[in-house]
């Protein structure tokens, strides 16, 4: 596990996450990524969305302090699909593994497709569920 993490970090330093941050993140994103984006929204965003106080984002901010690796998973461009799969199926720190009854292999493949796609294809960040529901209510009024 540690080896995987170390190599993931090296890849990130090599390809420059800073440049990636400059990509505009608006709109729904590419059609073929929507299924993976929904998996991310349901299973990952509650801890990993771009909100500093969430457990996953908070932990990764500490882990990558001083580097240019973003704390929010949805902004990462350095995570190869096998690394994502290892974390999903094995867990890390306080994050438990996810079972196939929660994230099926097909879901995981779609999640991987979303989190490894170019940032410009991912579209806007997914909202947290509460935020999505409030927007829906306010939009409907």
């Amino acid at each position: 596990m540690r080896l995987l993490l170390a190599s993931a970090a090296l890849v990130a330093l090599g390809c420059g996450a800073v440049a990636a941050q400059q990509v505009a993140r608006t709109g729904p994103g590419a059609e073929e990524l929507q299924a993976g984006k929904r998996v991310y929204a349901h299973w990952c965003a509650p801890c990993h969305a771009d909100v500093p106080s969430l457990a996953g984002t908070m932990s990764l901010a500490v882990k990558y302090e001083g580097s240019d690796i973003p704390a929010a998973l949805e902004d990462r461009t350095d995570l190869p699909a096998p690394v994502i799969s290892v974390f999903v199926r094995n867990g890390v720190a306080w994050m438990p593994p996810f079972r196939k009854t929660e994230i099926s292999d097909a879901d995981l493949a779609q999640l991987n497709a979303y989190l490894t796609a170019p940032l410009e294809d991912r579209g806007a960040h997914v909202p947290l569920l509460a935020e999505e529901m409030v927007r829906m209510q306010e939009g409907g009024e």
Partner: protein, 528 residues
Amino acid sequence: MALPPGVTETDFVDGLAAMRSAVGSEWVFDQPADLNTYRDFYSVLWGEPEEKMASAAVAPANVEEVQQVVRIANERRIPIYPISTGRNLGYGGSAPVLNGSVVVDLKRMNRIIEVNEANCSCLVEPGVSFFDMYRHLEESGSKLMMSVPDPGWGSLVGNALDSGGGYTAAGYRGHFEAVCGIEAVMADGELLRTGMGALPGSETWQQYRMGIGPCLDGLFRQSTLGVVTKMGFWMFPKPEAYLSASVEVMRFEDLEELVEIANELEYANLFNGMPGFSSPVLTRANPIVMAMVPEPEEMNRLVGETGLAAWSFSPNFYGPEKVIRAQWEYVQSRFAHIPGVRFNETGSLRLPISADEMERIHKPRFGIPSLEIFNVGSRGYGDFNPSDGHIWFSAVIPRSGKGIVEANRVMRRECERLGLNLFMFAPAVTCWTRSFVLFAAVPVYKDERNAHLREAVSEIIGICAEHGWGEYRCPPAFMDSVMDAYSFGDHKLRRVNEQIKDALDPNGILSVGRYGVWPERFRAGRDA
């Protein structure tokens, strides 16, 4: 191949084959990589030979498949362990209590069968999470609110069965207290419906809880007696407004009266939200850990020095704005005679909640699920980070000022003596009707520190029992010790539970060992 205890390889292989026929081969898991996802990620036995792990897992999609799985297991005496969403972290997660049991994973049974707006109730399957229900309610424009615990990925059914709690109105936030109607597959594979569900054609399953004769819902709480496949809940109509407030008193000696009056007000339904009891002066260093309660003179000196109150009671109100304002006014009048008392309004809003408000509120108070709570431990307060998880120690203590002070002092003293870290400590949590529950969160690590943690927690269970404090819920590693403390009448409670167990599940297959109840064939191994 890891075999369940007391099962031959032939029976196990044959049983898994039959389960594959019943649910589809892709929903029976027996490979190490898959079984790894069923481990209790916060286990205090992690990586040790005694860690409790599944020998296989099976995931039925509907009640008929559950019945088939249970019959297959019963015929071959294969121990099975149902989980709902498997997210009971800190209390066992998705792992069984008896090592080698086959986990019956009910996550695929995720139908919200009904939300009845007129009756203010719902009927759901065990795989429905609080996130799922919230989305359903909001998208359907429901007028109802579901009480949620802090982690929103849990199951309505599983959380209630383990006696979980939330933060909303009385009668709803103790989640088992809001249950109305249970359907369960019994060990023989037959289906039981409790309450009015037993009467064919009744329209009152989610209205009248009792039905006729002994009320059997309790058979399924923290139990080993059935696989719950449907559960009804009473739901709280969304209020017009919400108000939170605090009553602060400035002397050590005021605590007893503060709690007594607060209790009377709550039992008289003069506020309905979950009340908080704390000590501003003793939580000044860490808002989620109450320091040791000092002697009265010292505490009063600290109050004078810091200007912070000795004690606080925080009532919360849900209802029409006019009504809750009047209630708060009355609540204040009842404490006005206490010298130096301070009243504060700490928050108020009218529903629906706006986007701005959503960022500021504690979401579970409004039935809104999230996973925000996990930030308290992963990188939260304290100097023990990063830890690998947590367990809860949560004993029921007397609902009085004396109860708060004694429980605080005993726990602080003993944890210090035993070198046990706490990252959250509150001696007076009030999710459950008329109760104070002492809550202590203990960080867990995936290394040798767990051996010490187990010894220390076991010792604390014994010490609390000597004071008359028993846990309301606990992780699997401590279930026997906790049940052991409920020892009145030479452990008559456990013995009656065992008699019921043997009568209803004679082959001893269901949730073996859960909360210290073992079937006859495994009873000798209770202390193993």
